[in-house]
């Protein structure tokens, strides 16, 4: 197992370099001058432009800028954004916000997705199954933006059950509405996959064999159906967790949550290559770690894939 983990971590290093270089190149290639973007319509004196360019190494060649930002990242000298925000304190503020949002939304999404998926899978063509089909169709058809604003208006403005935006109400109250909105958009995929997987597995030959052998239904369910049916669901959970960062961009922007997604959005807008790379690296490390966990869990559920 240790060799397996080490091998995965070593393999991540070159991928990480390619990812960070690619992301930095994309931000670098964005048209427009980041300092002028910051100033809006107002003119910036040449002397100020020159001083800012020197401060942020914007006149250096691409590769020098990339290496300098990697150096800053690995030495922990994050510095400030072009606008003057201290990046380290921004990270201290924002990482907990995104983690709280991510864990709450995933918990809601997984619980609802698994419960509905399992129930619908075992009670095929029943009322719950049909309702699930219908509700997931609706969820998949409604754009996230519409769902988020509709939720905000209904539960925040009209009913006043939950805060409209911001984190002043604290955890979990301030996070409940955005987390529920994210969970609703992610719930459809999880529920449908669980249902289909349960149906497929319940009809598999080995289940029929188990039943023919005279095994009890409870044993068939817990010992044979669930472990096999949940394999693809675990994969989806891993992808969900790793992708929550991307999902947070929209939710954090609309619900004014000062998390990493909002920071990433601002940084891309202002062409902050260094910050975007820093946040992308964080996301990448999280992705690698979660993939590793998923692989380990896979092994625990299914002995066939152990130590592959």
């Amino acid at each position: 197992m240790t060799r397996f983990v080490l091998r995965r971590i070593l393999a991540a290093i070159p991928i990480g370099l390619i990812v960070t270089l690619g992301v930095f190149a994309l931000v670098f290639a964005m048209p427009g001058d980041p300092l002028r973007e910051l100033a809006g319509d107002k003119p910036i004196p040449a002397a100020v432009l020159a001083a800012k360019r020197a401060q942020f190494h914007l006149d250096d060649p691409f590769i020098v800028q990339y290496l300098l930002s990697m150096k800053d990242m690995f030495t922990g000298h994050f510095g400030t954004t072009f606008a003057g925000a201290d990046i380290a304190s921004q990270l201290r503020l924002r990482i907990p916000v995104t983690l709280k949002l991510a864990t709450l939304s995933l918990a809601l999404q997984w619980i609802a997705g698994l419960l509905f998926g399992l129930y619908a899978g075992f009670r095929r063509n029943g009322v719950v199954d049909r309702m699930l089909l219908l509700s997931t169709l609706v969820v998949l058809a409604v754009p996230g933006l519409v769902l988020y604003f509709a939720g905000q208006f209904l539960f925040g403005v009209q009913l006043k059950w939950l805060p409209v935006s911001g984190i002043t109400e604290g955890y979990p109250l301030a996070y409940l509405l955005p987390a529920t909105c994210i969970a609703i958009t992610g719930f459809a995929g999880m529920a449908r996959l669980t249902r289909t997987s349960i149906v497929d597995t319940a009809n598999a030959d080995f289940v029929k064999t188990a039943r023919a052998k005279g095994l009890g239904e409870q044993r068939i369910l817990w010992r044979h159906v669930l472990p096999n049916a949940l394999l693809p669901v675990v994969t989806l959970m891993g992808i969900d967790f790793a992708g929550i960062f991307a999902g947070a961009v929209l939710a954090e922007s609309i619900f004014n949550l000062p998390g990493l997604g909002q920071f990433l959005f601002q940084s891309i807008r202002f062409h902050e290559g260094g910050v975007v790379v820093l946040l992308s690296t964080l996301a990448f490390v999280m992705f690698i770690a979660i993939n590793l966990v998923v692989d380990i869990v896979y092994g625990l559920i299914d002995p066939r894939v152990r130590n592959v």
């Binding site: 048209p31 427009g32 319509d41 001083a51 606008a83 304190s89 921004q90």
Partner: protein, 535 residues
């Protein structure tokens, strides 16, 4: 699929019904205490409070509460009144200005406010290496070029040992003088710009250490620590002795980057004041029937001609473009806006409602002018800002008018705003673009000099007319305000005849306020939540 569409329709219908059920009245009461208010600002949170390094609305709004200017505009009369200044006196030529401060004013740390604070704060800002946004303001002061040797864009500036402006002189504890490079009769008005506020000595020594704990001289100070992500909470500072103190005892600035979310926070009764975003222009009066105000914004919007493209050089062609535009229809499309008939904002002294001869919608005359100009070769390209929700819509509206009324071929190019600015600055932009300008001090000169003087800060079109430069210089040298305005109006006439910018519209801003406050509304100073009266 049909079933899904049906359900979606029901869901959206429900949302619409629910939204129309809103009574729109905010209960207000967002802040605690009798005279406290929460002001929503639809922008990214501030990273620091330093007026000398701020030239955008969000930062200046907060700075306005914490810092006090030398002079200000009286909201009732539009005249300039002294705030920190006892007197502002020009010499005969308006080139050297003597500023005497009122005695007894202090900073919020108890340190006396002196002339040295102004001189040293301005020198610090004028130094290019400090990289503060209001550096350019001091370019009019003698000695600026020695501190900031002219450097081509993209080149590294040469190091300089000059650390002070030769034109700034401290005369005594409360008096200092400013010698300008050339006479400038409007300089007294510029002193109300908050970007010229003083910083106390301890802040000047280490500005970074005070980014989040400003020491101002204004009516409010920070209420406790202000950490990243926090709202900015201010309480009344008893040491403020200037005129025109706000009525509020406490103010909270809440930064909400998404303007629609900020609007929803108002509807939920969580904030007392909010700007109406463009998406709500059609509905805000019904959303908050008892709590909205509007005012003409201090700004004007234009269609900008590229002076570097010979195809657009003939003024007759520009007049043709201008007369092919139905400004009334365009202003209706913008929403809360009025058609422009001149180059300066309608709320300025010296604004003339009939200044522009070529701003009347007359397709026949426009066609005639285009023919006299020899027509136009190729397609008219209209650049629009892709980060603006309305950029493409406005571009297509103007494009359709040029196409229908002049028979021109039109194409559109969407780019980020900063890329458009950069291409225009380097004279490489192909075609037309939109631009807008709002003044930093209330003088029509602050429209004409930046946008039309050959070396103006915001000369969007690359326009250059020595005759206009000469008339502007005469206005700058004219000490009599009425005569100066006449000269500036002459400069406006020249610019309108050459028409490097086609006037389009003046926008009105709309705001919502809770039942407990009434924001100050003035023709001269606009709508200000900071100066709200409490019910």
């Amino acid at each position: 699929m049909r079933r899904a569409t049906g359900v979606l329709g029901v869901a959206l219908g429900l949302a619409l019904v629910l939204s129309s059920c809103g009574d729109g009245k905010s209960s207000g009461g967002a802040g605690s205490g009798a005279k406290s208010e929460v002001i929503a600002i639809a922008a990214d949170p501030l990273d620091y409070i330093n007026p000398l390094n701020e030239n955008g609305s969000p930062g200046i709004q907060v700075a306005q509460a914490v810092f006090a200017p030398l002079v200000a505009t009286d909201p009732n009369t539009g005249k300039t009144v002294n705030v920190m200044a006892e007197s502002v006196t020009p010499d005969k030529t308006s080139q050297t200005w003597t500023i005497k401060l009122k005695s007894g004013n202090t900073f919020q740390n108890g340190q006396a406010l002196t002339a040295k604070d102004y001189v040293d704060s301005w020198n610090l800002t004028a130094q290019g290496s400090t990289a503060w946004k209001n550096n350019g303001f001091f370019s009019k002061v003698e000695g600026y070029d020695a501190m900031n040797p002219p450097t081509p864009d993209g080149a590294t500036p040469k190091p300089t040992s000059v650390k002070t402006l030769s034109g700034l002189k401290q005369i005594d504890d409360l008096t200092f003088s400013v010698k300008l490079k050339v006479p400038f009769s409007q300089f007294g008005l510029t002193l109300q710009y908050l970007g010229l506020a003083p910083l106390p000595e301890e802040v000047r020594k280490n500005p970074d250490a005070y980014k989040r704990k400003p020491i101002g001289n204004g009516a409010f100070k920070l209420d406790g620590a202000w950490n990243p992500g926090d709202d900015i909470k201010l309480v009344k500072w008893d040491g403020y002795k200037g005129p025109n103190a706000p009525e509020a005892d406490a103010i909270t600035f809440r930064f909400i980057p998404n303007a629609d979310t900020a609007y929803n926070e108002f509807l939920a009764g969580n904030v007392d004041f909010v700007d109406v975003p463009p998406t709500k222009i059609k509905t805000f009066k019904t959303d908050a029937p008892d709590g909205w105000v509007t005012a003409t914004s201090s700004g004007a919007n234009y269609l900008t001609m590229p002076a570097w493209d010979p195809r657009y050089k003939n003024p007759k062609l520009r007049h043709a473009f201008s007369m092919a535009i139905d400004r009334k229809a365009f202003a209706d499309l913008v929403g809360l806006a009025t058609p422009s008939n001149g180059l300066v904002s309608p709320d300025m002294d010296g604004y003339r409602p009939d200044a522009c001869k070529y701003c009347t919608f007359d397709p026949t005359a426009a066609k005639q002018l285009l023919a006299e100009a020899g027509g136009f070769s190729g397609a008219v390209n209209i650049n629009y800002n892709t980060t603006s929700a309305t950029g493409q819509i406005f571009a297509e509206a103007i494009g359709n008018m040029l196409r229908q009324n002049l028979g021109l071929t039109v194409k559109y190019t969407g780019k980020q705003g900063s890329e458009i600015t950069q291409l225009a600055d380097t004279r490489k932009l192909d075609g037309l673009r939109f631009s807008g300008w709002g003044h930093d001090y209330p003088s029509i000169e602050d429209y004409l000099t930046p946008m039309f003087k050959s070396n103006g800060d915001a000369n969007f079109s690359g326009y250059n007319n020595p005759e206009l430069d000469k008339v502007l210089a005469q206005g700058d040298a004219e000490p009599n305000p009425e005569k100066a305005i006449k000269l500036y109006q002459q400069a406006e006439d020249i610019a309108l005849e050459d028409m490097p910018l086609i006037p389009l519209y003046a926008k009105q801003n709309a705001y919502l306020h809770s039942a407990k406050i009434m924001p100050r509304v003035s023709k001269y100073t606009g709508v200000q939540a900071l100066y709200s009266t409490f019910k």
